[in-house]
Symmetry: C2
Subunit: 340 residues, 2 copies
């Protein structure tokens, strides 16, 4: 095989990787997805499209639906179900975001700000339920039991991962392994499903299907690791979240696991007070970042993200080197480059 | 046709209708459903079965899954998918209950008590999501796109109804018509779907399918109306809820719509203060009940429930008078009799 699997990773430092080649390749499809999303979030109960619009319009790079579109293209699928399913993936993601917004009284006191502040917890939950149901309606329209199975399994795994995350919150005993279990479920599972769908639509072999699923899983883990780094971020502004959110919420992410594990007794006490007991004061976030720097916790996390990104690229090697494969390889670099 | 359609309604006053004939008829099936529910709510993340058990074990008469079991029997279905689908209906119902539990800070101050108090809003939402996803996994296992369509449409309608209910909350402009729209969606839709599934499993005609759907819809509306009456209840204890909950939460139900519409200017001011502004003091609930009595609001609501229950019975007339049809007819009386 003539391609150098890591060429994009090396390039990432020099020529900035971007989403633009992928976006150009699936431009028409993505436009159709956006139109379908807008169309299918309509409802006579106006609060539903209003709240959904706030969330969906405000956001993000549509990486998950892009995976579905690109993997369908990679598998030379020629129908139109990938549009519907990409919209469905975006609806599941949006529902998850809305439900993530829901908070308890205690955390509300800590001043966490998000969409629920405008409409309240109840509206966030119920509109999330609507979007989630809508996702299933779209899947049913496509009519593939195989795909319904992938996405209903993914949904259950995501919920399970979210519950697990709730349980690891403020818990400094959380191990690297447990953390990976959380993000593999709550984040990477939807990436995995989004990519696998393309192979099913293209009626590909089990090997190709598993390769795309694994590609999605690995890029999903890399994405979450980068996201966790950005939360203690330096010069970069994090999409849709503020630097320090994870810290304020007592979320135990890999940089924390690493810094805690390698910290002195005094540092461990700091982490216990700030994250374990959520007893935070002015300057604690900067102190947390300083401790992370001292132990290279952010670098180590990014290194780990790089490893998963490379594994994602490796999974694509069984496909011929088409422009869409190249664009997916660049995507893996793009994800990691967000924190560079 | 020799049967007197309203015989059970008339009997309701004398011989107490009960669930016992229905429970006896589907005893084995219901046992299988309960076992399946317990089995499929298991998860390595222990909080999930723990919270689910709290909810599912604590409760209810399993009326929704009973509808699926009974309608499958009525349609002489002989497979085992009705067990899976009845469990699925119970999971959807449980997810809805968990999400109903989620409250906003403001309502928490009003002292509403429910499951979220033990585990928090976030856990209620996420475990609800898990149960909802589990429901879809069970449906996919059954593999009928027709049934997947019924249940995903029902889920979207339920969420839409819940959002609509949120919007009518504390709003005394809510009309009888709007109220019916709310309960047809949030409550009756799952009853409708639960009953319709039986006809699909039994491969019945569109007419029979529509009759069972309509039976479910009508009994669902009757059920909710009775539930609303019980919330201002007299001697009866309401299952799983306390008398006065709706009042405390500012929910606008039919008895309120009726009493407000027929109330004097002074009474309208009372309803505006207590429900519109949620400015309640000692004795207000009793005063509310007194105003309802004055205008026969509870009687009128029960009368309406009776009308829907009779319509539910009428829908069954196209089926031969087997023991299961008789038991379903008794069920409609049982539902109404809860408030007698």
């Amino acid at each position: 095989m003539s391609v150098k699997p890591h060429q994009w990773m090396d390039d990432a430092q020099n020529s900035k990787p971007s989403l633009s080649s992928l976006l150009t390749l699936v431009e028409e499809d993505l436009k159709a997805v956006n139109e379908l999303v807008i169309k299918r979030m309509q409802n006579p109960v106006e609060l539903i499209p209003e709240l959904a619009r706030h969330l969906i319009a405000s956001g993000g790079k549509r990486i998950r639906p892009l995976l579905t579109l690109a993997s369908a293209r990679l598998c030379t699928y020629e129908g139109s179900h990938h549009i519907t399913l990409a919209a469905c993936v975006e609806f599941i993601h949006s529902a998850t975001l809305l439900h993530d917004d829901v908070i308890d009284e205690s955390s509300m006191r800590r001043g966490v700000v998000s969409a629920h502040e405008i409409w309240g917890n109840q509206a966030s939950v119920l509109v999330g339920d609507f979007l989630f149901s809508r996702a299933f309606q779209l899947m049913v329209e496509v009519g593939s039991l195989d795909i319904l199975s992938i996405l209903s399994n993914a949904s259950a795994t995501i919920a399970q991962g979210e519950v697990l995350q709730l349980l690891t919150s403020q818990n400094l005993e959380t191990t690297h392994e447990k953390y990976l279990q959380v993000i593999s479920s709550k984040t990477a599972k939807l990436f995995e499903a989004a990519a696998e769908i393309g192979a099913v639509l293209g009626k590909r072999t089990d090997q190709e299907r598993e390769a795309l699923a694994s590609f999605g899983r690995n890029i999903g883990i890399a994405f979450q690791l980068v996201d966790d780094v950005l939360d203690y971020g330096t010069h970069k502004i994090k999409f849709g979240k503020n630097v320090g959110d994870d810290f304020k919420e007592g979320k135990i992410t890999l940089p924390v696991v690493w810094a805690f594990e390698h910290g002195s007794i005094e540092e461990k006490k700091f982490w216990q007070r700030t994250l374990g007991d959520l007893n935070q004061k002015e300057g604690d976030l900067n102190q947390a970042i300083a401790y992370m720097m001292k132990h290279k916790a952010l670098e180590k996390t990014l290194e780990s993200a790089g490893t998963y990104a490379r594994e994602a690229q490796n999974q694509l090697q069984i496909f011929p080197l088409t422009p869409v494969r190249a664009a997916l390889e660049e995507l893996t670099c793009f994800v990691v480059s967000q924190a560079l």
